[in-house]
Symmetry: C2
Subunit: 348 residues, 2 copies
Amino acid sequence: MSNPLLSLLNIELPIIQSPMVGVSTPKLAAAVSNAGGLGSIGIGASSVEQARAMLRDTTALTDKPFNVNLFCHTPAVADAEREAQWLDFLAPLFDKFDTPAPTALREIYTSFVEDFGMLEMLLEEKPAVVSFHFGLPPQSSIDALKDAGIVLLCSVTSLAEAQQAERAGVHGLVAQGYEAGGHRGVFDPQQDSEMGTFALVRLLAENCKLPVVAAGGIMDGAGIKSVMQLGASAAQLGTAFILCPESSANPAYREALKGPRAHQTRVTSAISGRPARGMVNRNYIDLETNAPALPDYPIAYDANKALNAAAATKANTEFAVQWAGQGAPLAREMPAAALVKLLAAELK
Amino acid sequence: MSNPLLSLLNIELPIIQSPMVGVSTPKLAAAVSNAGGLGSIGIGASSVEQARAMLRDTTALTDKPFNVNLFCHTPAVADAEREAQWLDFLAPLFDKFDTPAPTALREIYTSFVEDFGMLEMLLEEKPAVVSFHFGLPPQSSIDALKDAGIVLLCSVTSLAEAQQAERAGVHGLVAQGYEAGGHRGVFDPQQDSEMGTFALVRLLAENCKLPVVAAGGIMDGAGIKSVMQLGASAAQLGTAFILCPESSANPAYREALKGPRAHQTRVTSAISGRPARGMVNRNYIDLETNAPALPDYPIAYDANKALNAAAATKANTEFAVQWAGQGAPLAREMPAAALVKLLAAELK
């Protein structure tokens, strides 16, 4: 089961747990890494100090390598008029929950492409692996992380993005298919190829020199073996880990994933401003019908978080973010270490 | 390489050539069947007598089993106002080619769900295999075909459709992923799950009793092995066969498939009235921008065929139908028998 990517990552199993902001935790990442896979934490929505604490919490729980994921989106451009229109559009929903809509929206976190404090922190803490989502950071940041001995991965959704990541000098490509839950890693959402895992992985395996990690719809050992047949060196599983007790998914999210909604996932940009796949709830209906132009990511997300908080005051979870991939009905509920062990057994 | 589905279909290799109206031919189907796979012809757009001739032409070229595909869409409902608006919308494009737009549109072919003459012909000619696309025919038609000893397959794009096909008593499920070229087999286009091949095949393999044929993005032996790992009993390849000399794809279509456009496929309903994936040309841009409500399938298709004919008078192929799946860049140009032989070698 060894290959150059696993050697580079210094892991035994070709299993990466997806970084999932809001779901993954240091405890989950450490459990996966301790079991022989590569755990991941997502710090894209964290401040530098919050991120440093998450890294240290993870390091305290495992001496194995783990992956730290960053958001490299084009920084948001504020547009007061567009944001006001969006809030006007959402106002009737806030009314329903007897909560005033926010009077303004803000860019709730900073893209790593301009967060040099985050870069400094990473160079100090030196996690084994860093991965990029939504694009690539400046070349100087990539070079600095590489010089510090950190292995770099980048999510890609097309051959063109893969070639861009190759030119930038990352060590591996996470080929994220359209099946995948959560935010699509597409660099420019206006140019989304919507490529499925199957076609994307095979295309990259045939056309790229870098090792490929397949992501999207992979839920079990058969899935992992299948993507390795296509030429992938490892598989990244996210939705498969949501039901683990170590994840921070709340009870409503877990219930939805265990019920009929797992069969109905869709990609929308209306929640955050960028395309992401989740289980269909009112977010997918009320925010997509007769909607005006969306604020930039993550400004739109600020509005959705406020709306979900308003709904929560009435015990309504219909505006909660419940990301999940198309493999959701195959999710199995067990501790992360047991799941990794089961995947390894299925792989044999 | 044997399994119950291959025994039932009486073929050696787990390779089905997709029926592709406008691309597949009796010669292509026979070459694939003679090489040990299952060739297919599509008669969904044919009259009963044209269809009978195609079956006989194929039978003359092979004594091996082949598959005959039928369209089982909900019959179109004519709507003079909607159709007139659609033609008004297209009028400037017809003007560009100095050709008057049609004054009316018609349902250019009959759904098998109400074509009992076609059923009679099939019961007389008795092809080894019949497959359904866009849904299921009446139970009485299914039962009559089964009683005649014909093996029945049905395209499905979700678990719900698969369960419906199982209840109707077909022998196998063609799990068509979102990667696939051509028309999506979705029963009700308003309920399109857009499931990728990877997630769909695994979900069906785990939840259905019937054997599963995987379709969408499969281009080579690695792809076939990969879907068999997921639990499929065979793979159906369409785009992989377009460049074969036995296909009826015209030179412009072949050139597009060998060039950069192969990297850019998209699903649109604007060409025919039903969602279908092809290489992006002006059809995908001019027919989707500020478009009014579409006529029903296949009434909208009548308009597109007229528009393409008008464009052709000026040697313009930008409105041609050039269906292709997301695996298109991996298409290889060679005779069908050589391709099947190569796939078989890659499978070993």
